[in-house]
Symmetry: C2
Subunit: 207 residues, 2 copies
C-alpha cells in the first residue's frame, strides 16, 4: 500500500472479485458456477481448478473482505487525538459504511441464505467478523466509561440498539433494491445522524 507497487491480480483473486459481484447481484443459488466461469472467461473445469466447489468459493468471497473492513475501525481505536464521544460518532459512521456499502456487509443476507446448508459460513462470519467488530467498539465504550464520559451500559442491550438499525437498513436496501424510490424510503445519512444522536443521548452521563 502506498509504496508504488501494485501486485498483479492473480486468477484466484480475479475470480473472487467477479463472483462476489455476481453473488451480490443475484444471490447464492442463482449464481451458478457456469455463470461465474463465463464472467471470468474461463471454463468451468478451470474454475474448479482454483476452487474445490461452490461453497469454498463463496466462503473465500465472504472472508476476503473481513480484514480491510475491520482495519478502518482499528485505525479509529488507535487514534489518540479523539475524545470518547467523537470516537464513538466516527465509529458509528464507519459501521454504517461497513454494513451498507462494503461487500462483506452487503453479503449478510446471503450468509443467512446459505447458513443452513453451510453452517461453517455462519460460524466464520460470526467469529471472525461480528465478534472482532464488537470487541473493538466495546473497548471504545469501556474507555468512555472509565473517563466518566459514558454511563455504564449492558453490552448486549447496547449492541442491540447500535447494530440493529444499521443491519436492518442494510437488509432493507438489499431486499427493496428494485424500488425506484429506494433513497427516499431508506436514506442513509439522515437515519445515521438521528441514530447517532439518540445513542449518545442514552449513553452520555448527564447528571
Amino acid at each position: 500500500m502506498g509504496n508504488g507497487f501494485v501486485a498483479a491480480e492473480t486468477r484466484r483473486e480475479e475470480i473472487m472479485r467477479v463472483s462476489t459481484g455476481l453473488f451480490l447481484e443475484n444471490g447464492f443459488a442463482a449464481t451458478s458456477m457456469s455463470k461465474v466461469a463465463a464472467a471470468c472467461k474461463i471454463t468451468k473445469a478451470s474454475l474448479y481448478h482454483h476452487f474445490t466447489g461452490k461453497d469454498e468459493l463463496f466462503i473465500a468471497c465472504v472472508t476476503h473482505g473481513y480484514t480491510p473492513a475491520l482495519d478502518d475501525l482499528r485505525a479509529l481505536e488507535n487514534d489518540q487525538s479523539l475524545d470518547p464521544v467523537t470516537r464513538l460518532r466516527e465509529a458509528i459512521s464507519v459501521l454504517y459504511e461497513m454494513t451498507i456499502k462494503s461487500e462483506v456487509g452487503r453479503m449478510s443476507p446471503l450468509i443467512a441464505e446459505v447458513s443452513r446448508a453451510f453452517p461453517n459460513v455462519a460460524r466464520s462470519f460470526h467469529s471472525d467478523y461480528i465478534g472482532p467488530q464488537q470487541e473493538i467498539v466495546w473497548r471504545m465504550i469501556a474507555d468512555g466509561v472509565d473517563q466518566k464520559v459514558f454511563q455504564p451500559v449492558d453490552r448486549k442491550s447496547f449492541f442491540h440498539l447500535l447494530f440493529g438499525p444499521i443491519v436492518t437498513l442494510s437488509l432493507s436496501r438489499e431486499m427493496f433494491t428494485s424500488f425506484e424510490d429506494l433513497e427516499d424510503h431508506f436514506p442513509v445519512e439522515p437515519l445515521k445522524q438521528s441514530h447517532t444522536d439518540a445513542l449518545l443521548k442514552l449513553i452520555r452521563s448527564c447528571a
Copy 2:
C-alpha cells in the same frame, strides 16, 4: 373462530401450511416442488394443479400470514382502556412476537433471497405488511403526542430505532440457527425489555 365450527382444510391450504414450514426450514432455493409434493403426499403434477409455479406458491405462503399478524396490533390500537405509554409497550411486545415468532415475520430473509427474481414479492410485502404495520404504530405515537405524553418525533428516525433492532434480532436468530447457544447470544426477552425502556426514555416528554 370460537363458534365451534372448524372449516375443513382444503388441499390448497394444506399445501401452503406444509410448504411454509419447508421454506422456513430450508430456504427458497433449497425447497423444491418435488419435496413439497412429497411432503404433501401428492405428485408434482397435482401440486402444479393447485399452484401455477413455485413463485405463486411462495407468494401465497407469504401473503397468507399478513392479516392475522396485523390483527393483534389492530386490537391493541382499539383498546380504549390503555394509556399511550402502556399501549406502546404492548405494541412493541406484539412487534417482537410478529417479527421473531410468526411465520410471516420469519419469512423476511427469504423475501430478501427472492426479491431480485420476483420483485413483486418484495412490493407486496412492503405495501401490504410493512406499510400497514407502520401506519398503526404511527397512529399510536400521534395519539401520545396529542395527549402531550410523547414528544413529537421524526417518523423515519423513530421507526429506524423501533424496527431496526427487532428485525436484526430476527435475522440473527435465523442465520445463526445452527448455534447451540443461540438463546444465550440472542435472547428475546431481556433485549425486548431494554429496547422498550430506551425507546420510552427517548420519546417521553420529561421537561
